[in-house]
């Protein structure tokens, strides 16, 4: 990941956090950063070790009109949310 990419990504490190922190914080960010996310200026990356979040965040973000991908990294997951192109 180069510097320009890094600036474009908002990272929420939610590893170890309890339910429903992941979804609550993710939804909060999706609402607050709506403009930059929808325009494609930024992406939201959520790091979580909570399996539940890998199901609930994508379905919520999809409903809000975002594209979501889930990737396994080491022992946790990265949920990447971006505006639909």
């Amino acid at each position: 990941m180069d510097t320009s990419d890094k600036q474009k990504i908002i990272t929420l490190d939610m590893r170890g956090q309890v339910c429903p922190a992941c979804l609550l914080v993710a939804m909060d960010a999706l609402n607050k950063q709506k403009t930059v996310l929808k325009s494609g200026a930024k992406k939201l990356s959520i790091l979580t070790d909570n399996r539940e979040a890998t199901t609930t965040i994508p379905s919520t973000a999809n409903n809000m009109g975002y594209e979501v991908s889930v990737n396994k990294i080491d022992t946790y997951y990265e949920i990447l949310v971006e505006g639909r192109l």
């Binding site: 908002i10 990272t11 929420l12 490190d13 939610m14 590893r15 170890g16 956090q17 309890v18 339910c19 429903p20 922190a21 979804l23 609550l24 914080v25 909060d28 960010a29 959520i46 790091l47 070790d49 399996r51 539940e52 890998t54 199901t55 609930t56 994508p58 379905s59 919520t60 991908s69 889930v70 396994k72 080491d74 022992t75 946790y76 997951y77």
Partner: protein, 380 residues
């Protein structure tokens, strides 16, 4: 059919626990989350799944009863309805949402490496120990507020065969289950490896409950063991005090002789190795281990220590409330929802009436704590 020997009981319970822990981890079967998310996110998917489990359990229990497989009907340790069920259920609802999992959810999350659930577990033991101190007062409250003495279930109260209840409620339930099936509302999209569809988990857990009922004499229940753990730890440090706590002297909360095997099944909340210990401790260990095995196989097992302290404090506090509430109710959500409700046990129905508003209050507390004081480490 009930197994008489303690060792056999323990082996059966360990296997059932391992299976339940594995299944719950794979399907994110969090009962606390089911109620909480209905309030916080208006997401009722998992509540529907829980409904499915109750309906399947209802049919399985009734089928087993009619086939003569159930030695006890209703099962032992099922109480008469009282106001204690309502208050206990309400506190239980608050506690489970704050703890981030119910008495079983906490176990499978702890098994998968959650530090917060580990603290909630400690809270559960502490809360059970605190309850023991005020048990005499609460026991008299239960006694004073018990109504309908003599009837434990709705079929008993109305003097009707349970089959009629199962047929009527079952027919209505099947209508909704099929309706949701036609609307494709049972499948849940998931992008992670090893995901088990929750509806499959619901059916599997109903079968696990049935196996427990047939072989051990009761559906799954684990919370008395938390009192036993508290008693055993206290016994190590302050044995003289433990001798004075009336609750820990109860040795026959469970006291049954199985009619065919003649096995004596006795136990209570004190620091004794008895039938309750033989049933519940392997079940608890099994759930933790089953979930741990699932997490390790998926290469997910890891403990993260960088957790906002406020979340850890909330989880521990929730655990303490949950521990107290599960003795006050008495018994836990798994016992009531997955065991008592399918038999139309009135104390379970009242417990659930208290649980729902409790979960609502818990949801409000938790969302305020999480959004108000902490969030992930953010970089913009």
């Amino acid at each position: 059919m009930v197994i008489g020997s303690s060792l056999l009981i323990s082996i059966v319970c360990l296997i059932l626990g391992l299976a339940a822990g594995f299944i719950m981890h794979r399907s994110d079967y969090c009962v606390a989350g089911m109620f909480r998310d209905a309030f916080l996110f208006k997401s009722s998917y998992m509540l529907r799944v829980l409904f499915l489990q109750v309906v399947v359990t209802m049919f399985l229990f009734e089928g087993a009863r009619l086939s003569g497989l159930l030695a006890f009907y209703p099962f032992p340790m099922l109480g008469f309805p009282s106001l204690a069920n309502l208050i206990g259920g309400f506190l239980f609802g608050i506690g489970m949402v704050m703890a981030g999992g119910c008495v079983v959810g906490t176990l499978y999350k702890m098994g998968a490496g959650s530090l917060a659930s580990g603290l909630a577990f400690v809270g559960l033991v502490v809360g059970s120990g605190i309850y023991a101190e005020f048990h005499p007062w609460w026991a008299s409250f239960i006694k004073a507020t018990t109504f309908l003495k003599g009837s434990r279930t709705l079929p008993q109260l109305t003097n009707t065969s349970p089959t009629i209840y199962v047929a009527v409620i079952g027919a209505i339930s099947i209508f909704f289950i099929m309706k949701w099936h036609n609307e494709n509302m049972w499948q849940r999209a998931s992008q992670v490896r090893g995901y088990l569809q929750p509806w499959k988990a619901a059916i599997s857990l109903a079968v696990i409950g049935l196996v427990s009922y047939i072989m051990v004499g009761m559906p799954l229940g684990i919370t008395t063991a938390y009192s036993k753990m508290a008693a055993m730890i206290e016994n190590f440090f302050i044995p003289d005090h433990v001798k004075q706590v009336a609750y820990f002297q109860v040795t026959k909360a469970l006291d049954i002789v199985h009619p065919t095997s003649g096995a004596l099944m006795q136990g209570g909340p004190g620091a004794h190795f008895d039938t309750i210990w033989a049933i519940q401790f392997p079940l608890i260990s099994g759930i933790v281990l089953g979930s741990m095995v699932s997490a390790i196989l998926l290469r997910e097992f890891a403990v993260h220590f960088k957790v906002p302290p406020v979340q850890l404090i909330t989880a521990f506090t929730g655990g303490v409330i949950l521990g107290m509430a599960s003795r006050m109710a008495p018994a836990c959500n798994v016992w009531h929802i997955m065991g008592g409700l399918p038999l139309f046990a009135m104390h379970s129905l009242i417990f659930i009436v208290g649980l729902v508003p409790g979960a609502y209050v818990g949801s409000r507390i938790v969302s305020r704590i999480i959004l108000g004081k902490s969030s992930g480490s953010e970089e913009y």
